[in-house]
């Protein structure tokens, strides 16, 4: 099958490549571009480990063909830390609030939370839980993930983070 020529911006860098039309975006990123932050969990659009930001939308990159992403702007976990190596507020939040144990779901969680906070700068706990309902974590029971996102929201809003009483 003839390959398609695609161009996209990934974490601020322009990428040009030839892909088979059937190549999924997650395989393109991981296998052809060596961008291995987005993970392959279920491969059936359920777990959200492969979530990336694509033109301002959170998408499961296992359910998008790379050719569909032609001309788009993609951001993965690799594009979250600042150039000087300091962490994004969400990464800091996951560290400070112990928002991960094994870490497998974390890149997807952070990319989803990134878009959630772009759309809603001060979400309630319920809005956070609804907003990350497409991302599964099998370690933490979500409590600390929610706290991590609340931590990041507070930091991005320039206010002190107050942990809710249990």
């Amino acid at each position: 099958m003839a390959k398609s020529h695609i161009t996209m911006t990934v974490n601020g860098k322009t990428i040009e490549a030839l892909v088979e039309p059937r190549t999924l975006l997650i395989h393109f990123l991981r296998d052809q571009q060596n961008i291995t932050g987005p993970h392959i969990g279920c491969e059936t659009s359920h777990c959200g480990a492969c979530t990336v930001d694509l033109d301002g939308k959170s998408v499961k990159s296992c359910t998008v063909f790379a050719v569909q992403a032609n001309g788009t702007d993609v951001r993965t976990i690799e594009g979250m830390a600042n150039p000087d190596g300091t962490l994004h507020a969400l990464q800091e939040g996951f560290r400070e609030m112990h928002g991960l144990q094994c870490g497998f779901c974390t890149p997807g969680m952070i990319m989803r939370a990134y878009r959630l906070l772009q759309e809603n700068k001060n979400p309630t706990e319920q809005e956070i839980r609804y907003g990350i309902s497409g991302n599964l974590c099998r370690c933490t029971g979500y409590q600390n993930i929610v706290k991590a996102i609340q931590f990041a929201a507070a930091k991005l809003n320039g206010v002190a983070f107050q942990e809710a009483a249990e």
Partner: protein
């Protein structure tokens, strides 16, 4: 899981898309948001030789008022439906339904057109469109035609859409101002299809039901329009005895499969429970 090989096409007009689909015949499939088709392709349950991506066709996107109808472009995503002020004001059941479809990531890409055209009895929008008496606008190489949602669904994955036709827009009559509405969906977990779900739109006049329409999801091979149940409710105050009779009439037209979501009898009863709840919530939302 890697789908079978295919050639990818990205037309920029409906005319070109229809031309390609006519040319490919059974070897071509239209691609909307892809969140039903791509999983099917990964499992090799769908192996189209040609995929015609509709994402590059600007005319298929957007929500607009047109006379007494709201017209929603087929490639409008569930995320867009939730964000639409026009829909929130005129037909808020679409927002309520969209919010219960899958998860945020799926809603960013999943489209109204794909949801209604796929013919999957598990999809939520078909029953809502049957409830609202929507019309589907489709274009094929022989031109355009309009199909009422209530006549569109013929069996599981079997619809009135002819090979080569593309669903371009959904035309929805705006319900009466002050109407009540609800979409009640029972599901096992986020992202699941309904065990059973009920869509209700009703209007009251002097405390009595002046109009009522009911759609049921995933309790038959097609979405169900519970016409008799709605007729029973007309003129009533939605008192418990009348609601019970209407719910029995709705349950009587269901024919769900026994599957992982439960035995058929359970799912029929859950359709009744969802309808009872939807009627109560719709009533509480009526104004004027």
């Amino acid at each position: 899981m890697i789908p079978g090989a295919f050639a990818y096409h990205r037309p920029t007009s409906v005319k070109d898309a229809v031309g390609l689909l006519a040319q490919f015949g059974d070897d071509g499939r239209a691609l909307a948001g892809g969140h039903s088709l791509i999983p099917m392709m990964k499992l090799r349950l769908a192996t189209p030789a040609n995929l015609v991506d509709l994402a590059g066709i600007a005319e298929l996107k957007g929500v607009r008022a047109e006379g007494d109808e709201v017209v929603v472009g087929a490639m409008t995503t569930q995320h867009d439906l939730i964000a639409s002020d026009l829909l929130s004001e005129k037909i808020p059941i679409l927002r309520e339904t969209s919010e219960q479809i899958a998860d945020p990531q799926v809603r960013y890409l999943g489209t109204l057109g794909g949801n209604v055209a796929n013919g999957d009895p598990g999809n939520d929008m078909p029953a809502v469109m049957v409830c609202l008496n929507a019309t589907y606008q489709v274009t094929g190489d022989k031109g355009e035609r309009r199909i009422p949602a209530r006549q569109f669904y013929q069996g599981a994955y079997f619809t009135a859409l002819e090979p080569g036709e593309v669903l371009t827009a959904v035309r929805i009559p705006v319900p009466a101002a002050g109407h009540g509405y609800a979409y009640e969906k029972l599901k096992r977990k986020v992202g699941d299809y309904a065990t059973a779900a009920a869509a209700v739109v009703l209007a009251l006049n002097g405390g009595k039901v002046a109009s009522c329409s009911i759609g049921l999801t995933n309790v038959g091979e097609t979405p169900l329009w519970a016409q008799e149940a709605a007729t029973i409710l007309l003129g009533s105050t939605l008192d418990a005895a009348t609601v019970k009779r209407a719910v029995a009439a709705a349950e009587a037209i269901t024919a769900p499969a026994s599957d992982a979501r439960g035995p058929a009898l359970y799912r029929t009863k859950m359709a009744g429970v969802m309808l009872t709840r939807a009627l109560a919530r719709a009533k509480s939302r009526t104004r004027g």
